[in-house]
């Protein structure tokens, strides 16, 4: 077996272990709830029987570790439990399966994040690489100044600025991104333009700065100087000598920023009232709907871990020292 496979498997296992601990943390959040939270959810009028039934449904009569394995086993099969909302003191249960709440919204969020990513990743890479190549030029300085300012802005400030100009003063785009399952693709894109633009602005700024730093670091390597002294043209120096060594740092930058996108999406969805998973989570936090919060947190954390894992693996498979061991 190629030793690189071993390294990758090791990394994957590490990712799995991390995921296990993360799920453990997310699961144990329930343990910190006050003992009478079932009463609080069902309302003061709840009878002892309904409370007991609810507690039994949650498995509170079982020890924690058994509940964890029940929970994680169900999650693995796509069952995220039932929402706390819709319960009533009388015992009538109108609660919905968390999966049914999450699934359509997850699609929406991925659509929005994807839209932002498709624009921002290439844009940021081009800006970052050119800024690094023309370092300290007027272009570099201005791009730097603009991005330093943009990353200092809270997402909602950018969002409302865009709304103010493009939805209110000059109404070309809608300020509410109210899509649903029936919305046509074109219409969906149109409605998502402002939220996607907000995300793009934030991500591009971060990503461009990180790309620039990574490339500058790379260009300072002695082997780059050596390739110049071999008489290679600038294009060849970049293509042949810089690029093959740039995959790992660039992958890290992209993964880091896509992970950032995942978080940025929460605020942006709230501003534009976009029916995504971030919006759902914020609502669930407000109503203290633990199963939904847990599901959302698990989804966000998994995405985050997967992104970083991908970057690591790209770094491993493009590393000549690992590809061609002694």
């Amino acid at each position: 077996m190629h030793p690189i496979l071993g390294t990758i498997i090791q990394r994957l296992l590490l990712g799995l272990v991390t995921l296990f601990f993360v799920s453990l943390i997310i699961f144990s959040s329930v343990e910190f709830l006050p003992g009478d939270f079932t009463q609080a959810i069902l309302g003061q009028a709840a009878t002892e029987d309904t409370v007991a039934a609810f507690r039994a449904e949650l498995g509170l009569d079982k020890p924690a570790y058994i509940r964890y394995f029940d929970w994680i086993g169900a999650v693995a099969q796509g069952d995220l439990g039932y929402s706390f909302s819709g319960r009533s003191a009388s015992g009538v249960d109108r609660s919905r399966a968390v999966v049914d709440l999450v699934a359509p919204r997850l699609g929406n969020t991925l659509f929005l994040a994807g839209m932002a990513a498709i624009v921002s990743v290439p844009l940021a890479l081009v800006l970052g690489i050119t800024a690094a190549l023309y370092r300290n030029s007027f272009y570099d300085r201005s791009v730097n100044a603009v991005t330093l300012t943009t990353i200092s802005f809270p997402e909602f400030f950018l969002a409302y600025l865009l709304i103010l100009f493009f939805a209110s003063l000059w109404p070309v785009f809608p300020s509410l991104a109210n899509v649903n399952a029936e919305t046509e693709l074109i219409d969906r894109i149109y409605k998502c333009i402002l939220p996607a633009l907000t995300l793009t602005l934030v991500i591009v700024a971060h990503m461009m700065r990180m790309t620039r730093a990574a490339i500058i670091n790379l260009l300072a390597s002695p082997y780059i100087e050596m390739s110049q002294l071999k008489g290679l043209s600038k294009a060849k120096v970049i293509m042949r000598h810089a690029l093959p060594n740039a995959w790992a740092p660039i992958a890290t930058v992209i993964a880091f920023n896509l992970a950032y996108l995942v978080v940025g999406v929460v605020v942006v969805e709230v501003v534009f009232v976009y029916p995504g998973i971030g919006q759902l989570m914020v609502d669930a936090v407000t109503t203290r709907d633990i199963p939904v919060v847990q599901a959302c947190a698990l989804i966000f954390a998994t995405t985050y871990i997967l992104l970083n894992l991908t970057a690591d693996i790209i770094g491993i498979v493009t590393n000549p020292r690992l590809l061609h061991p002694r």
């Binding site: 002695p222 082997y223 002294l229 071999k230 290679l232 093959p244 061609h324």
Partner: protein, 538 residues
């Protein structure tokens, strides 16, 4: 294939009144202050100087290249009739790599980790379409063979991290030679190598440069090395030329005081004095890091009081590990260290303040041995306070006394290390060791980061201090010249074991054990024929 554009003896490179500025600390500094240089076809010129002399900058400038943050402000660099200062980037690029090639100090960093060595070797030739890939690769394999690289047919298929440092350095020479340039710039190509490796690389480089009659600029700080490689030597200092002469003439009768002083450290020699009064002995020590691979095997060393024992060896010989065992940083697996007839506790934390005070240490790099945020007074004052309880005026006066002992004036009292030169920093480290009032000082390569003249000053200071205060030194070094200058006894170490220990005169005269022989043979001498003789004697 003929890339020779003229015959031997013609002027190939002519630099006139070249001046280069570098930007640092928010302003421009003069690095090269007007240097003329003439190099003929097939001639090898040695550029020699200490750090800050501007020799590397000048070497790169001969290609019309400056590092980022540097610029050529005036003068001309005429290579084969073309001024590279005014030439366009395209014109320069057409010369670089094909007619002028560069060999860098750090081969490991200068090869692209992502490409096979063969591809990098022939890259410059192919870039200018000098020959077909097949021919170029066949030629490269031939060069590998001439440079005595192992498996010349296949070694090019490896990646840079898959070959050793000495091989990589020869590989870079092959890369430079591949397009048969008229001129090669060697920028300290053997500085990072061990002496026994260095010899092999020097032999390989010299023979191939001679064979193809290539002109070269050989940049180094090591006189003995340049004596083997160069026809002409140019001495530089502070960005100016000190003098230039034929190698033999320069070695025999240097004109300038500065040049003579470069020679003098080699002449330093301590008269050995035998002694049986052992102050510290290392007995049957085995040691390993983290319980893994053993790095010391049954090491026995005896150090007589008031004398200097030099521990010689190449990297990986275990000489620094021995120091760590003595100081208690690395407790031995087996064996012990006796000090003044009593066994020292193996662990640092079990030693008394008194024991700690009597054994002091000086490091190779004074830069990292001093806290950059403390003043010199704080650095020297701490042991005074810690071991001897001095404070206030008493402490201040003792600090000033110590400064005098290391030949620095009192204006250094409140300076920070960053305001000192390399030699001054090392002196402060000596003062810190002295402040403890030690019986033995372990000196770990204390002169190897310093320029020759500064080395001499430090060695003389150490000798004087020994005479005056009867201090014992354990002197770890890889430099035979330094061993001559300072030691009474010598310990030769190789791969974690002691090869031999004895008086300097005994160790230095034959018969030698095999490794000692190799080590002594590998140390370049000032004789320009040394390398030639060595090759012949094989």
């Amino acid at each position: 294939m003929s890339t020779k554009h003229g015959k031997k003896g013609d002027i190939l490179l002519e630099m006139k009144d070249i001046r280069i500025d570098g930007f640092s600390d928010e302003r421009w500094h003069k690095i090269i202050k007007g240097i003329d240089l003439t190099l003929h076809r097939g001639e090898v010129m040695g550029l020699i100087g200490e750090s800050g002399a501007g020799k590397s900058t000048l070497g790169l400038a001969s290609m019309g290249f400056t590092k980022p943050g540097c610029k050529i402000t005036s003068g001309s660099v005429v290579f084969d009739g073309k001024d590279l200062v005014t030439a366009s980037e395209d014109e320069k690029r057409s010369l670089w790599g094909t007619r002028i090639a560069y060999v860098a100090q750090s081969a490991a960093a200068s090869f692209n980790p992502a490409h096979r060595l063969l591809n990098q070797t022939v890259e410059a030739s192919l870039n200018q379409n000098l020959q077909s890939r097949d021919l170029a690769e066949a030629d490269a394999r031939d060069l590998y063979k001439q440079l005595q690289l192992p498996e010349p047919e296949n070694i090019g298929d490896r990646y840079p991290h898959q070959v050793s440092g000495g091989q990589l350095q020869r590989m870079m020479t092959a890369m430079a030679m591949s397009p048969r340039p008229d001129l090669i710039i060697f920028d300290e190509p053997t500085t990072a190598l061990d002496v026994t490796t260095q010899v092999e690389v020097l032999v390989a480089m010299r023979s191939i440069v001679e064979k193809f009659n290539t002109a070269a600029l050989y940049i180094t700080h090591d006189l003995a090395v340049v004596a083997q490689m160069a026809d002409v030597i140019k001495v530089l200092r502070y960005g100016k030329e000190v003098e230039e002469a034929d190698t033999r003439k320069m070695l025999k009768s240097p004109k300038e005081e500065y040049t003579k002083s470069l020679w003098s450290v080699r002449a330093l020699e301590k008269a050995e004095a035998p002694s049986d009064d052992i102050i510290l002995s290392i007995n049957n020590v085995d040691a390993a890091y983290n319980g893994s691979l053993k790095v010391l095997h049954d090491v026995n060393i005896k150090i007589p009081r008031g004398r200097t024992v030099a521990v010689v060896g190449e990297s990986g010989s275990g000489k620094s590990t021995t120091a760590r065992v003595i100081t208690g940083l690395l407790p031995p697996m087996v064996g012990n260290v006796e000090f003044n007839d009593g066994a020292l506790p193996a662990e640092l934390k079990d030693r008394t303040k008194d024991q700690l005070q009597r054994i002091q240490m000086i490091y190779q790099s004074a830069d990292t041995a001093m806290n950059p945020r403390q003043t010199i007074a704080e650095i020297i004052g701490r042991p005074l306070e810690f071991y001897h309880g001095l404070s206030g005026l008493q402490k201040q006066e003792r600090i000033l006394e110590l400064l005098k002992m290391i030949e620095l004036d009192e204006s250094f009292y409140d300076r920070f290390p960053s305001e000192l030169s390399g030699g001054q920093k090392q002196r402060v480290c000596i003062a810190r060791a002295l402040a403890a009032d030690p019986e033995i000082i372990i000196c770990d390569e204390v002169t190897s980061a310093l320029d020759q003249i500064v080395q001499e000053g430090i060695l003389k200071l150490l000798l004087n201090l020994q005479k005056e205060y009867n201090i014992t030194y354990l002197f770890i070094t890889h430099d035979i010249a330094v061993v001559n200058a300072i030691s009474d006894e010598i310990v030769v170490m190789y791969q974690g074991a002691v090869i031999e220990q004895g008086l300097k005169s005994e160790i230095m005269s034959p018969p030698h054990p095999e490794y000692t022989q190799l080590l002594l043979n590998s140390v370049p001498e000032m004789d320009p024929d040394w390398l030639t003789k060595l090759v012949k004697s094989r």
